[in-house]
Every structure is written in C-alpha cells, then in structure tokens.
C-alpha cells in the first residue's frame, strides 16, 4: 500500500490495519505528514506540525511489538485544534497574544487521546479565540476550503475541518461554542459532533464562553467521530461542569446504525423555523431530499415549531461576549502571553499588550460584552438573553416531546468566498442561526454531509438530540450516512477535487 492510500483510509480502517500489524504507526503517521507537506501550503489548515510525531509513533510501534495490549485507535494520527492546551506544542487559540506559548499541561481530551496511543500531527488553525465563522479571524491568516481554495472552510474550527476533508488527518478535535464544529464540517463535506454540554471535559480548552463551549470530534465518517468521542468523553474532576454519568459506546451505536439501513421507529422532527426563506434554495433542496430519504428509510417525519429560535442569535451575541470579556481578562501580560514593554503602571502595560495582542473581532466582542454587563444595561441585555435561553430550552423540550431527533440544514448556505463577510460582523453572526440554539440549550448536535449545492460545494445536515442522548445522533447519523453513500458510491469526502500543489 502506498502512503497516499493510507491517508484515504478512514480512521476505523487505519486502526484495523494498525491493530493487525499490516501498517505501522510510523508509516501511518509519515503518510499524513507527507500529505500535510504536499498540500498544506495552499490550505493552511495547520498552525504547527508536531516535530515529535514520528517518535511518538515509533514508541507505539515498539509497545505493540512487545505484545502490549493497546487501545483500538493506538498509533492512529489525529489533529488538534489550537484552542486545546498541549504539552510540547504551542497553543495560541489563533491569537498573537499567545504566540509561541507552550502550555505546561495537556487539555483533558488531549491527555485521553495520548493515553489511548493516538499520535498528534499538530495544531489546527482557527478564528482567534474561536470568535468567527470563517477562520478569517485567525491572527495567522485564513485556512482555505479544500473544495474551493477561494472559499472559507467555516469557523471557528476551519483548520480541523479542512485537515480531515483534505486527508491530512483521519480525525481531529474541535470545539463548538455556537457551531464551530458543525458549520465547518458542513461546508467542508465532513462530519462533526458537539456533545452534550459537560459530556467532554473543557479542562485545558482555552475558554471562550464557558456556559456554551464544548469539545468534540471532527472526521470524515460518523463512526470515526464516534470512536474519538468514546476516547475523550466522560467525567473529569478537573472540570466542575463535567457530567458524572455512564455513556454508552458511540462507536457501537454508529456501527449498528450503519448496518441496519433502517430508521424504522425513529421520529424525526423538522424544525419549521430553520426551514424557511433564510436557507439558500440549493441547501433547502438537499435538505428536503434528505428528509424524503429519511421517510423512505422508515423514519416518521413530523414538523416541530421553535418560535424562540428567532431570538437565539441575539441572545447568543449577548451571552457569548459577556462571558468572553470575563474569560479573556486572564490575558494580563503577567503570567503568560504577550507583554508590550513600555513605561507606566502594570495597567498601562496590560492595556498596551491587549491592544497589540488582540485582533479586531476579539476587541469588538470584549467591548460588546463589557457593555452588556454594564450597570444600567445588564437587565435589558444580559438578563433578557438569559431568559431567552430558558425559552429556547422550553422550545426544545416541546419539540423532543414529539420527536426523538430533530433535523435542519447545518448552515444556511454553502461556503462563502474569503473576504465576503469579513467587514460585516452582523452578516457573519446571522450565519450561525442554525447551530446556536443547541449551544444555548446544551444539547448534542451533529453535522453530516447531505450532498452538494448548485456551486458544487458541500451541504450539511444537522441532527439534534435531547440532553445526554448523543447516542441517537450516532445511530441515526450513521444510517443516513450509509444510505447517502450508497446513492453517491462512497462518502462525500472522496468526491472532493484533488489538491495539486502548494507544498508547505
């Protein structure tokens, strides 16, 4: 098998080859490093490539050769979003203020991947502090969409989504505060999952909005996301919001779902307020075709209404900046990060450092959040936004009384052009309408490919489930994925145009 072939394997296939001893971790890792070297110059999915990856791979090969029983994913390579702290690799969250910062500890999801023997390929690009929907707000320049290099790869996790879509990695980690895993997955033809809030530890994830942030998997197949979720999930005493419960095997659910080919007995709710004129015609067409496919597979489709969705974006853009303005106060030029050396007091130095270290979108949201929390405005803005959050939760409760899972398009359009919305924050924010409600309510969500738009670019289907029922997403998602792959003659990711040049 040539090294190029190895990058075309799914993570599950690669894990099988590794476990059987047909492929070494060094070979698998080298194949992906070669792929990164060949195409990442034009994609810019990675901010940092792990110089120690081959050594880590060799260590896994040695342990396997010594007869040690290893995790089923041991030796498989994985990419890590730069929002997650990693020992030995810079962790910048896409910001100049953390340029070159190497954390003294691993984020829990990273530590769990390491413990399972996965090999980190490097750190992926993102909008600065995960503020954005296009990766154009990265201080280190945008990532490009592998389907069309003039288009955005989504955001904030555009780097992780582009990396898996371009076969630079079989899996990646992302974080999803308002759609930063699901929307990039949708526009790059990949799969991404935002777990139930508290299902995956946030320890070591550089905080954006603590009541919304959730770490999750990114991949080309539902099963691969499930395999990663099984590794990273579960209770962590380092995160006081981490849930103490037993989770079922998501990989088992994905395998069952793919094998069954049937959605019989599953009630699927179509959210009326996310099936409107606000969704581009080609995205709506793919969505209606997929709903018809769900019905043909035995799913019972019902329409559900969520009237408060109308207020979700407004509430989100109050709650997120409010929490972010507090979280980002830690960048004080004292303990870590950039310090602009100048005269004056520690406060003068701090203000100068934050001026130099933060980009325009980060400043915009810190100022907005500080405004929303100010005396005299707090009740009208932040207080009301928290009440809207209750209304959204009630809408979901009512919807899930009628349906087991809900579906909508993952994003209103296919990938837009680089630069198209960068100067219009409100247009950028409006784009998040489909994904934000799940974060406000804390429920799990998934995006899987559901075809191509009129421009030949990927379109994503969003599935949502009630709190703690992530397993429903994996079972139903894998069934729909399998039925679509049957139509297409393979998963959507394999239909992407070849990347030809642009060595890193």
């Amino acid at each position: 098998m040539t090294s190029q072939d190895l990058t075309r394997s799914s993570g599950a296939e690669l894990a099988g080859l590794l476990a059987a001893g047909d492929v070494s971790s060094v070979e698998a890792t080298q194949a992906h490093l070669d792929r990164i070297a060949a195409v990442d110059g034009e994609l810019h999915a990675f901010l940092h490539v792990n110089a120690g990856a081959l050594d880590e791979a060799r260590a896994i090969d040695d342990r396997r050769a010594a007869g040690e029983r290893l995790h089923e994913l041991a030796g498989a390579p994985v990419a890590i979003k730069d929002v997650l702290c990693t020992i030995g690799m810079p962790s910048t969250s896409g910001s100049r203020i953390l340029e070159g910062w190497v954390p003294p500890y691993d984020a829990t999801p990273v530590a769990r991947l390491k413990a399972a023997g996965l090999v980190a390929l490097g750190k992926t690009n993102m909008d600065e502090f995960a503020m954005g929907s296009s990766t154009e707000h990265s201080a280190y320049g945008p990532t490009r969409n592998p389907w069309d290099l003039e288009r955005i790869p989504g955001g904030s996790g555009g780097g992780s989504a582009a990396a898996v879509a371009a076969f630079e990695a079989p899996f990646a980690l992302g974080s999803d505060t308002g759609g930063s895993i699901r929307q990039p997955a949708a526009v790059t033809g990949s799969v991404g999952v935002k777990p139930t809030y508290g299902g995956v530890s946030r320890y070591g994830a550089i905080a954006l909005a603590s009541s919304l942030d959730q770490v999750g998997p990114v991949s080309r197949t539902v099963l691969d996301s499930a395999l990663i979720h099984d590794v990273i999930g579960g209770h962590d005493p380092h995160d006081s919001t981490s849930l103490q419960r037993e989770w079922p095997s998501f990989a088992a659910a994905a395998r069952e779902g793919a094998a069954s080919g049937s959605l019989a007995g599953l009630k699927v709710g179509v959210i009326r307020e996310l099936d409107t004129d606000g969704i581009a015609a080609d995205v709506a067409a793919r969505f209606h075709e997929t709903v018809a496919l769900i019905e043909r597979a035995g799913g019972e489709v019902v329409e559900v209404s969520m009237p408060s969705v109308e207020y979700a974006v407004a509430a989100y853009y109050l709650i997120l900046p409010a929490e972010a303005s507090s979280n980002l106060a830690r960048f004080d030029s004292v303990r870590f990060g950039l310090r602009v050396e100048q005269g004056g007091t520690v406060e003068d130095v701090m203000a100068a450092s934050r001026e130099a270290g933060f980009g325009p979108e980060v400043k915009r949201r810190i100022i907005l959040g500080t405004y929303a929390l100010s005396a005299g405005y707090y009740d009208a803005y932040y207080g009301s936004a928290q009440q809207v959050r209750t209304l959204i939760q009630r809408d979901f409760d009512a919807a899930f009384a009628q349906a087991d899972v809900l579906v909508s398009p993952s994003a209103p359009t296919t990938a837009f052009r680089l630069g198209e919305k960068i100067d219009d924050p409100l247009a950028m924010y409006a784009n998040d309408i489909t994904t934000i409600p799940a974060n406000l309510a804390g429920i799990p969500g998934m995006s899987i490919p559901m075809g191509l738009g009129d421009d030949g670019l990927p379109v994503g289907l969003q599935l949502l489930a009630p709190h703690f029922e992530d397993v429903r997403l994996y079972r139903a998602g894998a069934t729909i994925e399998a039925l679509l792959a049957e139509q297409w003659g393979g998963i959507l990711a394999t239909k992407a145009p070849a990347l030809t040049g642009g060595a890193r």
Partner: protein
C-alpha cells in the same frame, strides 16, 4: 440607532484594559451601535415571568475530595511568563504617580 457614543466606547475600552487607537474607537462606535440595535430585540421576547438560565445543564455543589493533587512546579508556572525572578512574576509599578 442606539445611543452609543465615542465617550462610551472610550470608557468601555478603559474597563476592558485595551488601549484602543482613535481609529478603532471611531469604527467600534459605529459597529457597536449597529450590533446593539440588532441584539436589543431580546428584551421584547421575554416577560418578567420567565426565569433566567445561566447554565445549560445545572449542577449543584460540585466538590472534590480535599486532598493535594498534582500541581505545577515553579519552573512550569513561570515557563510562559514574560518576566519573573524564579519565585514571583515581575511587573512594572502597580501604582501610578497620582496614586
């Protein structure tokens, strides 16, 4: 349009500890007005009878056993610091002349 003024943005920048430039204050004043106009509609959505949600999955009294865990060494804690003396983070003057 909402009533965001240049002076307000200057004040918010001070609270946020960001030394914004004049151009940034100018553009943020305009942008913030537009954004606040767009998000102010949250207040029309709710009445007094709706409770606020601050946390999506409420948990109460999360504690851990009161035992010493793994902590960072001095060297690890200082590794990313812009300036330190090996025992303390080093900063410039805390108090200005007027204080």
């Amino acid at each position: 349009m909402s009533d965001i003024t240049r002076e307000q943005v200057e004040h918010l920048a001070g609270l946020s500890r960001i030394a914004l430039t004049d151009e940034e204050i100018e553009s943020l004043t305009t942008e913030l007005s537009a954004i606040v106009d767009a998000i102010a509609k949250v207040s029309e959505a709710v009445g007094d009878d709706v409770p606020a949600t601050s946390h999506p999955v409420p948990l109460a009294n999360v504690t851990r056993p009161d035992v010493e865990g793994a902590t960072l060494s001095h060297a690890e804690a200082f590794a990313g610091a812009p300036s330190h003396d090996g025992e303390r983070f080093r900063v410039s003057a805390i108090l200005g002349e007027e204080q």
